[in-house]
């Protein structure tokens, strides 16, 4: 049925969804606008507190840097891997898919506990800054989403034909990968990257357990002292990530392939 208009049942469901998803955000907004004195609307005090606090920018910057690092490492590791599997080892794909699910389903708690054990012998610098240990952990955490996004992207192009055409024209493997394959999976890679961004910007468990000062841990800190400011922060974090996601639409152009999964709990 090529309907011309939206089905009535669809309208109902979408309204229910809108209500359920938007009301808590609105609650956050209202809460964040409460003034400390009167306990009622409306004051921008929470927001100015947040913005004036140097830790706000510091922690956002840290989290953002961590995201970029995680994205870069993930892409460098996984794009060639998934490409190779699609090209030469198709039978291995379901195995890889299974492996991809493990970090997803394993709780961050267990992951942290396990990783800390694993890295016991690692050098000092690996532990000292979050860039070492935490980034490694985040790459593992983001692996499922990266994998499923990239996998969907590779499935939608004809890898064999593209590769063979490129090679018959004299290109090396690296050239093929960078100039032929990469542009064709750009949208999928972007999708995976933005999900990774969302994950890292929102990841609390591992960061707090390993005592690093990321954005989400900062939110928790503020929560303990300034509830209204914490509300403002939470809302800001949501909006920041949503804007980043929408940026995908413009940068990626064409239909984004959101066949990816989501992350933390």
């Amino acid at each position: 049925m090529r309907r011309r208009w939206i089905a009535p049942s669809a309208v109902v469901w979408l309204l229910v969804a809108a209500a359920f998803f938007l009301i808590p955000l609105i609650a956050l907004l209202l809460f964040s606008l409460k003034s400390i004195q009167t306990g009622k609307c409306c004051s921008g005090a929470a927001y100015s507190y947040v913005i004036d606090d140097p830790q706000f920018l510091d922690t956002i910057r840290l989290s953002f840097q961590l995201s970029l690092e995680t994205i870069a490492i993930s892409l460098l590791l996984f794009v060639p891997t998934v490409y190779w599997v699609h090209l030469k080892l198709p039978r291995f794909r379901p195995v890889l898919g299974f492996i991809a699910l493990v970090p997803f389903v394993v709780p961050p708690i267990v992951l942290v506990v396990g990783l800390l054990d694993l890295y016991k012998g690692a050098p000092e610098w690996f532990y000292a800054k979050p860039y070492g240990f935490l980034a490694a952990a985040y790459v593992i955490l983001a692996f499922p989403y990266m994998f499923f996004a990239l996998d969907a992207g590779f499935r939608s192009i004809d890898v064999h034909t593209l590769t063979e055409a490129s090679q018959s024209l004299g290109a090396s493997w690296l050239t093929t990968l960078v100039r032929v394959i990469l542009p064709n999976i750009r949208v999928a890679a972007l999708g995976g990257s933005f999900l990774t961004l969302a994950i890292v910007m929102g990841e609390f468990t591992m960061a707090s357990l390993s005592a690093f000062r990321t954005f989400p841990t900062y939110i928790q800190l503020v929560n303990e002292s300034q509830p209204y400011a914490a509300a403002a922060l939470s809302l800001l974090s949501f909006l920041i990530v949503w804007v980043a996601m929408l940026a995908l639409l413009f940068v990626g152009r064409g239909r984004p392939r959101p066949a990816q999964l989501a992350a933390t709990r």
């Binding site: 929102g202 357990l209 984004p256 990816q260 709990r265």
Partner: protein, 233 residues
């Protein structure tokens, strides 16, 4: 295994089953509503990007949002009290209990379901709907004989994913209930980095128990994946 831990495992499993089930049903309905013919395309994009964010919004901020909504002085609570004359807390509802946790978990379970099931719904060819209708089937008959059976492997796979997701959740419950609701992940964190009772070995043992539960779920997932791939040719 000591009794209180068994209780916690059981509680965590229960909550996970409930949120996974509800997430599946509601996520499927919403995803279908936005993907089906007739619904404007931009709505799907909005919902998908929103789901990408919402599914990761879990944690302290989410707990906060729900406290601001349904907590003792949350906006919905006060709205119901002042304008509808109905006080949910007087009727036994409490955000900081199992029910509250479940409700809050839905905020990331439903979007996760939407993201996971959307490709499967895309795979539901329009021709099947039309052919069924042409042969005399009503909408409900189509779903019963064709739609749901074809989607079933994907739905079951999604259920397992949602279960795992809920089972492992830590930050949200922590933010909501602190030590009020006894979930295994929280207990593990408690023992691992706890201030009073630090017992890393116990934490590791409990973590292993979680791992076992999840491994079982994963093993159930594999044959389901294979099935759904076969039909979606």
């Amino acid at each position: 295994m000591h009794q209180p831990y068994l209780d916690q495992y059981w509680l965590t499993i229960k909550i996970s089953l409930i949120t996974a089930g509800a997430g599946c049903v509601l996520g499927l309905a919403i995803a279908y509503a936005v993907i089906r013919e007739g619904t404007p395309r931009f709505l799907r994009t909005i919902l998908t990007t929103f789901s990408g964010v919402a599914a990761n919004f879990a944690g302290i901020p989410l707990a906060f949002a729900f406290i601001a909504t349904l907590g003792t002085i949350g906006i919905v609570t006060t709205f119901m009290r002042d304008h509808l004359g109905f006080d949910p807390y007087a009727h036994g509802f409490n955000l900081f209990t199992q029910t509250g946790v479940e409700l809050t978990y839905m905020y990331f379970q439903i979007p996760l379901m939407i993201l996971v099931i959307a490709p499967a719904i895309d795979g539901l060819r329009q021709e099947w709907r039309e052919a069924a209708s042409n042969l005399g089937a009503s909408s409900w008959q189509f779903w019963r004989h064709v739609g749901i059976p074809v989607l079933l492997p994907s739905i079951l796979g999604a259920f397992i994913l949602l279960f795992g997701n809920s089972f492992s959740a830590y930050a949200t419950a922590y933010g909501l209930a602190g030590n009020g609701v006894f979930l295994i992940p929280i207990t593990i964190g408690f023992y691992y980095s706890g201030n009073v009772l630090s017992d890393p070995h116990l934490a590791q043992a409990l973590a292993f128990g979680m791992f076992v539960v999840l491994a079982v779920m994963m093993l159930l997932y594999i044959p389901l994946q294979r099935r759904s791939a076969r039909w979606m040719r």
